[in-house]
Every structure is written in C-alpha cells, then in structure tokens.
C-alpha cells in the first residue's frame, strides 16, 4: 500500500510546483514544447535543460517534443540575447552564464560588461562614501570629547 501512495504524492507535488523547466508525466505527451523552450530561453538558461525532460519522461516524451522545444528556444534566445538585456542583468549583478549563441553573444556580453562595470563603480563609490561618513563621525566624536 505504501508503495502506491508515495509516487502519487510525489507527482502531486511536482505538478503544483511546475515551472518552465519542470514537468509532470501528463505533460510529457501533452505539453506545449515550443512554449517550454521559449520560456527557458527567455530565462537565459541553457538549451541542455531539455535533457531533464528526457530523463524524467523517458519513452513517454512526445516524438516531436525536441524539435518543438528547439524552435521555441531559438526564438526565445534571440529575444534574450540583446545588448539591453545584457545591460539589465549586469546592472542587477546577475552573472553572465554564456548561453547566447555565438553570433548574438557579442552584443549581449557588451551590455552585460558595461552594466557590471557601472555597478562595480557604484558599489565602490558607496563604500567610499560610507568610509568618509565613518571618518566624519569619528572626527565629530573626537571633537565633542
């Protein structure tokens, strides 16, 4: 009896927490694989995330799943790998995971590098200001004493 209940519980949980790169067994055959590929690409994740689905679904994976997934991924990655997006991620301090195709990588990397540099300088400036404030406080304390 236990053996039967445990897998059911696990599937239930998987379904509830399903995100772009997770999938339940029902979805192996009925999933919109183009959408899955597109979403994964838009999150800047590697195309190899598909291997997770292959492992999970095994033979239940729809026959055309991979080609649909790759179509979606190709469209998504084109939208993801732009100068602006690189800059956006760089400014948030999110690391560049180099998942952009080679021909799109140059622009994305440039944006990311510029933003990362700006962020670094900002941080350095904030640190400097904090140090100056600390020095100022110390001076005030010495003066009052």
């Amino acid at each position: 009896m236990y053996k039967l209940i445990i897998p059911l519980v696990t599937f239930g949980l998987t379904a509830c927490t399903s995100t772009s790169d997770t999938v339940n067994l029902v979805q192996c055959t009925n999933n919109n694989w183009t959408d899955v590929g597109y979403k994964i690409a838009k999150e800047g994740k590697s195309v190899r995330n598909f291997s997770k689905f292959e492992e999970l679904c095994g033979e239940k994976l729809a026959e055309n799943a991979k080609s649909l997934y790759l179509n979606g991924y190709s469209s998504g990655i084109k939208e993801y790998c732009t100068y602006d997006n690189g800059q956006k991620l760089g400014s948030k301090g999110i690391p560049n995971n180099n998942n952009c195709p080679f021909e799109l990588r140059e622009q994305f990397d440039k944006g990311h590098k510029v933003a990362a540099l700006v962020l670094k300088e900002k941080k350095a400036m904030v640190k400097k200001m904090q140090e100056m404030q600390n020095v100022g406080k110390k001076y005030e304390n010495v003066k009052n004493n």
């Binding site: 195309v47 190899r48 790759l70 991924y73 990655i77 195709p101 080679f102 021909e103 990588r105 140059e106």
Partner: protein, 462 residues
C-alpha cells in the same frame, strides 16, 4: 533539315561543377538530366579571424581549440569522428561556422537531407553567409531542384561572391530555366575569372548560339579551335553553327574535320553523307554511306533512307552495290524489313530497265509483307506503266485500305483511270480524295478540267 547529334554536340559539357574537390559533370543539359559525379571532398574550416565578419562564417574564439582538433581529424580523413563530436552539441550551441562544417560533412557523406536542414538553419542565423548560399546552391543542383539552386547562387553573387564556379553555375541554370540572354553575362564573368576553363567557353558558346548571336558565337569558337584544334566537339559545334546559318558547305567542312579526327557518331555520318549528296560530291557520299553500313549493325531504316537518297540522285549502280553488300545480312531481318529492302531493290532494277527482276522483287516484297503500302503503291505504278491496268487497280484498292496510304492510293488510282481514258472513274476518285483531304486544294482545278472533258465528251456523243 540536317540533324547533327545535338545532345552530344551543342550542349556537351555545358554544365560542370567544380566545388573545392566536389566535382560534378554533365553530358546532357537539354532536359535537365544531370549526371553528377561526386569526388572526394575537402572541408573548409575557417581560420579564427577576430570578430565576426559579416559575409563569412568565422569560428568563435571559444571554439578555437576544438576547431584545431577537428582540423587534424579531418586531415586524417576521420569524418565520422568529427561528426560524432559535433553531434554531441545542440545546433544552437555551435557557431554558424561549426554548423556549416557539420553540414559540409553530411553533404560529403551524401546525407543530403540532413545537410540541407543544417544549411538552412545556418542561414536562418546568418542569412548573409556567402559560402553557405554557394554550398546550398550546389546541394540543390544535386537534388535536382534547379530553381532553388538558382535562388541561392543569385544570393551568393548579390552578397559579393566573385567565384567563377558560382557565375558559371548560375549561367547554366539561367540558360536552362530562363533565356540564353540571361546566361551570357554570367558565362562571360566566369570566363573572365577562369579564361582557360573549357566549361565556361562551351557554356558561353551554347548561350550565344541559342540566342542566335551567331557571329559572336563563331568568333568564340574560332578562338577555342585555335587552342584545341583536335577537339572533335568543337568542330561539330562549328558544323551546327554553320547549319544554323544555312552555310551547308562550311558545315560539311567542319563535319568532315570531326570525322577525320575520329567522330563515329551514326547521325553525324548520315548528315555528312546527306550534305555530300546535296553538294553533289557523290563519291564521298557513297564512301561515307558504305563506311556507315560496314561499321554498324544493319539499321534498315537508315539503309532505306540512303537508298532513297541514291535513287533521288539517280545513283542506281551505287544503290545496287550497297544492296549487294548487305545481301548476306538480309536473311536475318524481320519480314517487314526484308519487304522494305525488296521494294528498294525492285525500284533500282526498274530504273535500270531490268523489268523482270524488278517485278520479281515487288512480288517478293508483297509476299514478305502483304500490308506494305509503299510496295503496293510502287508495284501498282510499275504495273500501270506496263499497261497492266487491272492488276494495278487491284493493288491501289489494297493500298487504299491502309489509312496512311489512302491519299496516295486515291490519287494513283485517279491517274490510272485517266491513263485508261476513264474520266468518269477518275473524277470519282479525285472528288473522294478532295473531300477527305481538303489540303489538296489544287485538285479542285483538276476536277473542273475533268468535268469539262466529260461534258464535252457527252456533247460529242450526243
């Protein structure tokens, strides 16, 4: 109308593709039936050349090490190992340069469908890659999709490719798919880049000939002949060109040159003989005919043609000699073929006033093939001249029942009745012929003349 073996001559080797070491060649092009031979391939692995250049697929710096490893594998002819390594990646993970290399390997392994899919994928990512357009054009030529090939060759040129092979291939496609005028400039470009390449010269010649630019074609051919005076095809091309310009004498000189150099094409020998007969160099004509009959298995249709020509120029002795020459072979022929040759023998003997022998042969012809319309008509005429009118009439009636001989039989019968002064019967035959064959417009006049004769006759009798 003379027919020099056009398939072999005019378009010979118009089309030849040489792509790196892919070698494609074709002997015929008139109906787009390509015979393409694929040789040992070489692979173009691009050098690292810094940032991407727009129209070339360069490998990315991150792939430099892998590229070096693959290069050494390819140098050792280890394509499958390279493919194994490249197939371990998702296509999107490879640079367009690496993806192109993968497509090239599929191409060389004759996995054309896979190669096509990959090339198209590369172009989706980098639509301006000249090399890929060129490769894809060649792939489509191999897959017998000339319109798609034309599209990609044009694209390669519009993106700045200036390779003779691309110009030449596009020229060939323009020539076969569009008009010869659209091919001329491309062939000229190819020739400008590879002036000694015979394919482009022949292609340009072919385009010029088809565009009826004979003077230019002649000039080009003269230049080609200076460089290759022993090339049979060039002499044959010259003969075709001269025939197109109605210069039969010039055509014959070129044709003789080709024969002298060893051309043994049956059609060309036949044309040369026909031209000699027309230009009244009978001895040489007979020599060629004899040579043709000697060197080939007996083709009764051709032999019949020769005998008819010799008959037309009254070379009955020569025709008789020819028939004697092939006599031992006659027994092996079908009854129909034997009948055809017996008719010719009868005609020759009739013309040489050997009437008994002639009659004997006419009878043998009809014994061999009772439905030989030609034999019926000729024997009927022969008998009519011998005043054996009843027998002749019977033969004409038999010939009339064969659709393709009906017209001649009706006219022959009308003539027979006129010879017999039987105007009323002649009129019936002519009216029948006129009603069934309206193209015989001149008959209406003759019908009126005969009607007048009958009227006059009736008046005199009254």
């Amino acid at each position: 109308m003379f027919n020099i073996n056009k398939n072999r001559v005019l378009f010979t080797s118009v089309f030849a593709l040489v792509y790196s070491s892919y070698v494609f060649s074709s002997n015929t092009s008139e109906n787009l039936a390509f015979n393409i031979k694929v040789g040992k391939p070489t692979f173009v692995l691009p050098q690292f050349s810094g940032p991407y250049r727009e129209r070339e697929a360069s490998i990315a710096p991150a792939e430099y090490e892998r590229a070096e490893r693959l290069r050494s594998l390819l140098e050792n002819d280890n394509q499958s190992e390279v493919l194994k390594e490249l197939e371990a990646f998702y296509d999107i993970e490879l640079s367009p340069a690496m993806l192109t290399l993968k497509a090239q390997i599929y191409f060389s392994m004759q996995k054309y469908d896979k190669a096509e899919v990959l090339y198209l994928k590369v172009l989706k990512r980098k639509p301006q890659l000249v090399r890929v357009h060129r490769d894809l054009g060649q792939l489509y030529l191999l897959k017998d999709k000339p319109k798609k090939a034309q599209k990609h060759f044009s694209k390669a040129l519009s993106l700045g490719s200036n390779e003779a092979i691309v110009h030449g291939q596009l020229a060939y496609l323009n020539l076969t798919l569009n008009s010869p005028f659209s091919a001329i400039s491309e062939y000229q470009q190819a020739m400008a880049l590879q002036p000694n390449e015979i394919q482009w010269q022949q292609g340009l010649f072919s385009a010029l000939s088809q565009a009826k630019m004979y003077t230019t074609a002649h000039a080009l051919l003269a230049e080609m002949l200076v460089k290759n005076p022993n090339k049979i095809d060039l002499w044959l091309n010259k003969a075709v060109l001269s025939l197109n310009q109605n210069n039969n004498k010039e055509a014959l000189i070129s044709l003789e040159m080709a024969i002298l150099l060893g051309d043994k094409d049956e059609g060309n020998l036949k044309t040369a003989a026909q031209l000699h007969l027309q230009l009244q160099s009978y001895d040489r004509a007979f020599e060629l005919i004899s040579r043709h009959i000697d060197q080939n298995s007996l083709n009764t249709h051709t032999l019949n043609e020769y005998l008819t020509w010799l008959d037309q120029v009254e070379m009955w002795q020569e025709a008789s000699d020819l028939l004697k020459k092939i006599e031992p072979k006659i027994k092996g022929l079908s009854a129909k073929e034997q009948s055809m040759l017996f008719v010719q023998t009868a005609n020759i003997n009739s013309n040489r006033n050997k009437l008994n022998i002639a009659e004997d042969y006419y009878k043998r012809a009809l014994d061999s093939d009772p439905s030989n319309g030609d034999a019926l008509l000729k024997y009927a005429l022969f008998l009519s001249e011998k005043k054996a009118h009843i027998q002749a009439e019977l033969l004409y009636i038999r010939a009339e029942s064969i659709p393709e001989f009906e017209k001649q039989a009706l006219l022959g019968k009308a003539q027979l009745y006129l010879n017999m002064q039987n105007h009323a019967s002649a009129l019936v035959q002519l009216q029948k012929a006129y009603s069934r064959y309206p193209e015989l417009a001149a008959l209406s006049e003759q019908i009126n003349v005969i009607k007048n004769i009958i009227r006059l006759k009736n008046k005199n009798q009254a």
